[in-house]
């Protein structure tokens, strides 16, 4: 008996050690990567960097255009993708009959979420830039990115809506509410935190995507802030890519600085998403 027990204890111990090593190794690799970048780029982060346009001279170059381009793009993507995505989710969860067609749509949306982003780039190029002749504008870029994150938003919104217990809906119907009144007063408010979290996570994907924007022709050297949706633009990842591909080492340091800025933005967005989710868990204790 004791033999078997001690063998089992040994197995458990070994497993614990493996798990600990895996966890810590991932963390250590991450720390090394980030540390590397931080060392490289930290010295370059100053107000000049943040408020200057790119230039041929490293000491004069900055990411002002890229930051503004990213902000514009995110805003437009939010305005386009969120209403469409949430409405689609509401329709699929609340109104559509559960039949073969709806299952088919469900599976396809999940597949679309996994399609490589460059395919969306090609799609955007063909439809928005060429067919609709939007040229290489913010509008074309935002529409393309919206297509990219739309499946993600739809899936996240669906999950959030599904998480609202059926009993709440039944309670609303039982006092003589229509389906829309129920959705508006109960389902949406209860699922908003979940939807919001999903949207933020989708956005943080959008802010980091480079390939589709390059496909539709977002410029890599933009020395102005876009003024309307038809203007050309650039984004943080593109600017970083541009600097990394230059031969001068100083530009590589600038790229590192840009990466730090991008990471800070991403971390902030993710932290916000987590905060919202935690607060909503307290309120909606199903």
């Amino acid at each position: 008996m004791n033999d078997i027990l001690s063998r089992r204890k040994l197995k458990a111990k070994i497993f614990r050690i493996i798990a600990t090593i895996s966890t810590w190794s991932s963390i250590i690799i991450l720390i090394i990567l980030l540390g590397n970048i931080a060392l490289d780029g930290f010295s370059n982060i100053n107000w000049t960097f943040l408020s200057s346009f790119p230039s041929r001279f490293p000491h004069k170059a900055g990411i002002k255009a890229a930051i503004w381009g990213s902000i514009w793009m995110l805003a437009l993507v939010a305005i386009i993708a969120v209403p469409i995505g949430v409405s689609a989710a509401i329709y699929l969860e609340e109104y559509a009959k559960k039949n073969k067609l709806s299952r088919f749509i469900e599976i396809n949306i999940a597949n679309l979420a996994g399609v490589p982003s460059i395919i969306y780039g090609i799609l955007g190029l063909t439809i928005f830039v060429r067919f609709f002749q939007l040229d290489r504008s913010l509008l074309a870029g935002s529409l393309t990115m919206s297509l990219l994150i739309l499946p993600v938003i739809i899936m996240a919104a669906r999950e959030a809506i599904k998480a609202v217990p059926k009993s709440i809906r039944l309670g609303a119907f039982a006092v003589g509410a229509t389906r829309w009144q129920t959705i508006q007063s109960h389902v949406l408010p209860a699922s908003t935190p979940g939807i919001f979290t999903g949207v933020i996570l989708a956005m943080s994907r959008a802010i980091g995507e480079t390939a589709p924007l390059i496909m539709i022709g977002a410029l890599t050297y933009v020395a102005f802030v876009p003024e309307n949706i038809n203007d050309p633009f650039t984004t943080l990842p593109i600017q970083i890519y541009n600097w990394v591909s230059r031969p001068q080492v100083e530009f590589h340091h600038l790229a590192a600085a840009g990466i730090i800025v991008l990471l800070v933005v991403l971390l902030t967005m993710n932290a916000t998403a987590i905060l919202i989710r935690n607060r909503s868990l307290k309120k909606y204790k199903w």
Binding site: K97, K98, P165, S167, I168, L170, G171, A172, F173, A174, V175, G176, A177, T178, Q181, S185, H186, A190, K283, Y284, K285
Partner: protein
Amino acid sequence: MNNKIIIETKNLTLSYGKHPAIRDCNIQFLKNKVTAIIGPSGCGKSTLLRTFNRMNDFIDNFNIEGEVLFEGKDINHSDMDPVEIRKRIGMVFQKPNPFPKSIFDNIIWGPNINGFIGSQQELVENCLIDAGLFDEVKDRLNSSAMELSGGQQQRLCIARAIAMKPEVILMDEPASALDPKATMKIEELIKKLKKSYTIIIVTHNMQQAARISDNTAFLYEGELIEYGKTNSIFTKPDKQQTEDYITGRFG
């Protein structure tokens, strides 16, 4: 005796797809009385109850044959609006399901979306008093309903139902998720409410049915076996099957 019939079924057959849950049921519910529907699990009690306020509309593959008359009119007629019916026939569910809002909002929401004009404070207070909950929550009407105990939540759901001033209240095993003390409070409440409302209650607890109802209907495997005054059913039922069930010989 002025016993008016408020809900009546005629040859009612309810089925999910091909499978019938209720077969050829003819029953009359009297106004301002408490009628209990008893029977073993799966005999169709809840299905029958949900038909009266058309909550079965939300279930796919659900079929109705026969008539359900509410004050003489068939509720499944194409002219009838289920939303209107649910305003007049309310429901309390087995597991308390208050909205994740404040106590005040829980009660006033239904009337508000249906165009209520008048003193909201007064309506909420009166409903809470009628539901026997006012004293316990009067100084925290704006706190979340989710913080109440199970029994309090269920009384809140009853208050929410009566805020719509329905004519009939359907209750689907309203006390089965509650402890004995909370159950007792709900039963006292039901006896009080029947002065103003007609109550139809589904319960698997026979002693409860015996305690609070005026009339009892016994369903078995989708068929109405016996229906009569609760007093008679529990002292000398007509059908042997009824007697076997209530004495616990089966089910």
